[in-house]
Each structure stands twice: as C-alpha cells, then as structure tokens.
Point group: C2
Chain length 432, copies 2
Amino acid sequence: VERQHQAALEARLASFHPADIAFVLESLEPDARDLAWSLVRADRRGAVLLETSDNVRRALVANMAPEDIAAVVAPLDSDDIADLVSSLPEEVGQQVVARLDNADQAEVRSMLSFPEGSVGALMDMEFISVREDASLEAVQRLLRRLKTLPPHTSEIFVVDRSNRLQGLLSLSRLVLGDPETPVSAEMTRDVVFFFTDDRMRDAVDAFERYDLVSAPVVNLHDQVVGRLTVDDVVDEMRERANSEGLRQVGLSDEQDLFAPVLKSARARWPWLGINLVTAFMASRVIGAFEPIIEVLVALAALMPIVASIGGNSGNQSAALVIRGLALNQLGSHQLWRMLEKELRIAAFNGLLCGLILGIATIVLYHDLALAAVITVALVLNLLTASLIGVCAPVLLHRFGRDPVMGSSIILTATTDSMGFFYFLGLAALFLV
Amino acid sequence: VERQHQAALEARLASFHPADIAFVLESLEPDARDLAWSLVRADRRGAVLLETSDNVRRALVANMAPEDIAAVVAPLDSDDIADLVSSLPEEVGQQVVARLDNADQAEVRSMLSFPEGSVGALMDMEFISVREDASLEAVQRLLRRLKTLPPHTSEIFVVDRSNRLQGLLSLSRLVLGDPETPVSAEMTRDVVFFFTDDRMRDAVDAFERYDLVSAPVVNLHDQVVGRLTVDDVVDEMRERANSEGLRQVGLSDEQDLFAPVLKSARARWPWLGINLVTAFMASRVIGAFEPIIEVLVALAALMPIVASIGGNSGNQSAALVIRGLALNQLGSHQLWRMLEKELRIAAFNGLLCGLILGIATIVLYHDLALAAVITVALVLNLLTASLIGVCAPVLLHRFGRDPVMGSSIILTATTDSMGFFYFLGLAALFLV
C-alpha cells in the first residue's frame, strides 16, 4: 500500500511546475523533504533545484555524489548551472564543474568568475544576434532554423561584424515590418544595456524605471556577451525584499525554517552580543546616578519612558532616510534639508509628548520640577534621536555598509544611553 | 539670460525619458519642482505624471484646472488614466473623467470600479486576441494591419467565439511556426491567468514563480477583459518593498520628503501615541516596585538590560515569522514546529546571555542572589519574547491586519513590561 501511495505521489509530482515542487519541498520537514525529493523524476531535479532557496538546495544535494549532481544539472543552461554551483560548498562545486562536458565547463567557469551581485554573475548566455544589413525575411528564416527561441526573447540583438552592440530589433517589429526591409530600418538604436560588472541593484532600478523585459549585457569592448531578463530581476527584487526584515535584526536570509536549534541559536549571537554590550553601557549610565535614584526613586520608574520614545521616534526618521537612500533621492542638499526638517519635527513632537508626560508626572508624583525635567529630557532625547536617525543610515551607506542592518542598533544604543543621561543628569543638577 | 537658460533646460528635459523627468521632479523642492514642471512639454506631462509617486503627483496637479488635467491625460491608455485619476482627490477625479471622450470615460469608469489592490484595478485593456482556427499567416496579416503592438506583447490571446480564453500563442511561436499551420497547433493551452478580483499580491507571487511576462485577465465567465504585464508587477513589488520599512514604524509611503513640518509631524502621532501609552504602562510596572528599588538601587540600573534584550530577541523571531508568512510557508503544523523551536532557542540564548549578565552583576555588585535573579528574569523574558514574537504576527495576519505594522509595537510593549515585572518581582520575592 505504501508503495502504491508513493507511485501515486510520484505521478502527481510529475504534473507539477518545478517552482511548485520547490515550494512544497521548502515547506516540508527534513525527513519528509528527503522522501519527496527521492520521488522527483531525475530529469526534473535540476529545474526544481534552481527554484529552491540556497539553504534547502544545500540540504537536498548534501547526500548526493558530485557525479550525480553533475548529471542532474547537465541539462540546464550554463548560467543556471553556475547559479547552482555557486550555492554549493566550494569543493563540491569544483567537482561538479569538472564532470560537465567541455563547452559547458568553459561557460560555467566564466560565469563563476564574475563577482557576486554583478550583472555578469546573473546574466544568461543564450541570445540571438543578427547584422543590421540583413532583411527581416532573412532574420525570420534564421529563427525558423533555430526551432525554439530562448525564454523571454522579446528582442533580437543587432551587432556589427566584431559583435559590438548596434541596437535592438523587437520581435513585434520583426512580425509587423515588411519582410523586404533591412533590420537597420526597424531596429531601435537607443538601447538600455549593462556591463558585466554593473551591480544587479542598479540593473533592477533600470528595469523598473524603463519597463524592460530583457536587455543586452556587453563587455568592456561593447561586445554582446549575454542577456539579462526580467525574471532574474524579479527574483533579485524578491530576495532583497524578503531579506530586509531579517537584515534589520542581524539575520541573513539563509535561514532554513528547520535548521537544527543550536545552529539557529548561533546565528543570532552577533546581534544579541552587540545588544548585550549596548544595554550594558546604558545600564552603566544609570549606575553612575544611583545615589540620586536612591533619593528620588520616581526617576527609576520614569527614565525608561524617555529612552523608549526616543528610540521609536529615531526609528521613524531612520526608516524615511533608508527609503530615500534606496530610491537614490538624497543628494547632499536634500540631506541637509531633511536633517533640518527631522530636527524641527523632533522638537515639535518632543515638546508635545513631553508636556503630556509632564502632566502625567504631576498627577502621579505632585512634583513640578520633576515634570519640567522629564519634558526637557524628552525634547533633548528626541533631537538626539532624529540626528542619529538621519546620520547613522547615511554614514553606513557612505562607507559601503548596509544601512538596514546597522541603523537600529546604533540608534537604540544612543537613545537609551543618552535618554538616561539627559534625564538623570538634569535631575542631579536641579532636583537633589 | 534667465530665459535662455530655461529654453536650454526645456530642450534638455525633452530628451529625457519620462521616468527620469519624474525622478528629477521628486528630488526637487516644491518651488524648483513647479518651475521644472512648467518646462515639461504639455504632450509629455501625462507620461511623466504616470511615473511620479502619488504625493508628488498630487502636488503637481494641485494648481491645474480639471480641464487641463483632462487634456494632459487624454493621450494615455485608459488603464493609466484610471491609475492617475484614482490618486487624485475624488472630486477632482470625477471632473477629470467627465471631460474625457465617451469611449475613454466608459473604460476609465469600469477600471475605477475594481477594488484597490485587485488585478482588475491594475490590468491594462489593450490586448490582441485571435481564434484558434486562424492560420499563423492570417494572424501575421492581422498584426501588420495594426502597425504597432501594445507594449510587452509577448503573447497573443486565443479565444473562442464568445471571447472565452482558450490558450496563448507566443510571438516566438508565431515567428517560428509554418505560416500554413493553424493557431491551435502552435498555442499553449496550459495558461496562467487571473480573475479581475484576484489580489495583486497573489498575482505578484505567480509572476515570480512562473517567470511570466504577461498574462490574460478574465471575468467570471472566463472572457478575456484585460492583460497584466510584468512592468505592473515590478512596480507593485517595488512599492511593497519600499513601504515595508516605513510600515514597521507606523508610517505610510505617502510621505513627501518636502511636505510641511506640521503635516509630517502629525503623521507620526498615532505611533508615538501608542508608544507613549505602552512606555507609560511599563513605567507603572516599575512604579509598583518603587519600595524595593529604594532598598536595592542596583535594580534600577539592571532592569533596562532585561527589557532591551527581550525586545531584540523577540524581534528576531518576529522577522522570521513575517518572512515565513510572506512566503506562504507557515501552515499550522509548521507554525507549531516553529514556535517550539523558537522557545528552545530562547531558552538556550537566554541562559547564555543570562549567565554572562550574572557574572557581570557579581563583578559589579558582589551579590550572588541578584545575579541569580537577573539570569532567571532574562530567561523568562526571552521565552515570553519568542512566544509573542511568533504569535503576534500570526494573529495579526489571521485577522487580516498587516503583521509588519503591528508586531514590533505589541512585542516591545510586552517585553518591556514583562521584563521589568519578572526582574523586580523576583527581586521582591527573594532579595528584600
């Protein structure tokens, strides 16, 4: 019965789209996942691997011999093989590449030589190019001989005799144009193209801005070497979007939902460690004022409010700046304008929150001077928060760091310590 | 000279892509923006408006009369007009629509009737459909008569006599196939399509998963009524990605960098208000233990550490859950597994951080009992944090709320209050 079940499941899986199989595999726990993987037909495994996340992919191939992996990936395009190989442990990757046939090997190695995050590393190498003096009819004949076109072929690249990019001929112009006219009369010369070492994130911006479906990739001699297609761009956008929330809390998106506890716990140490240090520093600020708290214990109850509202307000500034940076909207002039505006908002909202808090303090503790101190401390901390909220992401970005990853830690460390310092310091000066 | 300058700028702008002009406009301050807008040629203003963010768009049309807006948008496709109109104040929108010609009016009104965030509201209505018994040659003749194809036409829809979707004929099959063969022999019958009231976010998932460039949109009778293209999907993804960081801190992405200070300050009130309330609640927890703090003032210095590490650890759990929800990977079985795992990680990391903190406490305060209390309080608070970090986003999601927007507030409120409560409560029981 078990076997009958498996046969039914196997038949079922065979009718699924590879992306759907990948989705199922990712949702399964390791044991069930291995079972399901064994039921995927060998000739579809490459396509399925291509759609899984890096982590699950590594888990799936962990038990396979390099020659089996090579057999599974062999039917794929060289750019897809390179993509898969780059996510394997280096040694295994090398062994897999060594088992491919020679032409594939050369292409895969050249793809792997492009740095991660570059257009070259993600482009595909299948494209069709024609000369501009050919007639549309000749092009149509050429295409018919090919039997199938690479996926997402919406344009054909027009090159000169040295393979240098001259323009694009869209499939629709090819269909609509008079068969007798030369390619040069129907092609577009105003082309968006990329160099192999352009960054993918810039390519994503260009695809979004100019509504592209595919674009040629050229080397430093303007020779066409590949093609970037919108599905790669969509995958890249998706990956960036999915990792943003994780990067904010110091995690990478390499997390497998079902990785062992110890491994997952360890992934969180760096961020927790930094937090432990910053929280400890804030605690030492309080420690310096222990004698005053002993005299006026209400300070202990009120001080976390000053710290907490500062952190929240600063995170709002930081979120706006991070978006501005992502959209490339912050030149130095805009930045100063924004800093000035954030400081004004902080002063205004600080005064407002501070007054509410002051009134609450009077009601609770019947102490006017204490109320004045908390109001002033809150305004000062909100000003500090907006300053750090604007500057921290900008500086991280300037120094080539990820503003999403570091801003909130820097910000909270500052607003906690300074919040306690302003409040307790003012109290020491004026209240005791 | 001023005038000469402007003429030069005007000529310069005329050579820009509309998306680039929109980018320039968004980066300019209001005065300069209005000046630059007046230099954009009237016949390009519609295309530029289409590329700007909602807020800048509203600012640009604020000074235009409805008939001028109607003149500017008239050359656009009806779906683009609907997109623009829906971002205008309702009254202005109505007046603009009333000034369009009759055919456009009907189409725009039907587009506007689809709910926001649905496929219908974002589809475009320009598509080409043919019958399956036509020959490829007949299709080519039909297309040549059209002179141009709608942008991103990579497929032609195949319909029956009642306009019901039968399949897709890709342009490449049209080019490659023998002109004599009928459409039915070259078309794909296994088609990904959408209903007008499908949610855009599901459509985005499907485009990503199946690498689509365009897809037919049908009504409840399976009749083709429109087409969804990858550029709409890319825009939607971009918008969602850009708004995520803002939604986390209670802001919408309607923020104009240069909106007046008071307006921007007010946009932050709801979130700051909630934070004021939760911080105040945490403060009252401390207030209840003031007598104990008076006796042992070290508690005041140490308590924020317990609260802060709890918040951070919980945010890590929440980020993982939010990503799992976004990827549709969390069925109820996976959810229980994940909760269990997060609790284990919290216990492990809590014990580790707690021990480090305990040792620091002994070094600073030479108090073994105090060290034991802070270790236990930290473990308890990390367990609470992982419970809330997993449950808060899931519950928000179940009740149709945005987990990105509410999770961190709920989490921090809990970890602050409970962190103080565990630590001071244990201290009250065992130390004084």
